[in-house]
Symmetry: C2
Subunit: 103 residues, 2 copies
């Protein structure tokens, strides 16, 4: 059993801050912290599996090929990893990223 | 692609409120909302896989065979599903539960 305190993870001025919280044969758990204005542009990975993005703190946007939708705490995006997706931070933004099976 | 707004999910007076956010061959995503004083006592499932519990809102406790530890937003517990685990709500508590592979 492991307990992580994600809100202790820092932000970085020049790029998103990425913390690997957990990695196993079953699942990969990451914490992305984006300063306001940072983000991950639309991208995808040509592999099998799914991605779960949950906003933990802050205001942002989920990006898809359909455009942008506002994202606030508790909002959760789920999609195949092979589907183009992205995130943008309007304010400083903490995001939980879960990938199963892990990549 | 699916977007869920977990903070719109209700609480229930008489029992934890459980919402299935997503279920696929890869992962199961649930949202448990506990009113203050509610919880899930120590339990386990005798199957393979891992569990990720993340506090989205409120104050609570993670339970293990070692006892209780305080749990606040951003705190994340990761363990095999076969390891005894539980959650208690000190205030109204929103928890994201991810299980991979799904049960």
């Amino acid at each position: 059993m492991k307990i992580a305190h994600l809100f202790e993870n820092a932000f970085k001025d020049n790029a998103p801050s990425i913390t690997v919280v957990h990695e196993s044969e079953f699942v990969k758990v990451l914490n992305f912290n984006f300063k306001a204005g940072q983000g991950l542009p639309l991208h995808s990975h040509n592999i099998e599996g799914e991605l779960v993005l949950t906003i933990l703190e802050g205001q942002g946007e989920f990006l898809s090929t359909d455009g942008k939708v506002p994202a606030k705490p508790g909002d959760t995006l789920i999609c195949p990893i092979a589907t183009r997706h992205g995130v943008g931070a309007v304010t400083d933004l903490r995001v939980l990223v879960t990938i199963a099976p892990p990549i």
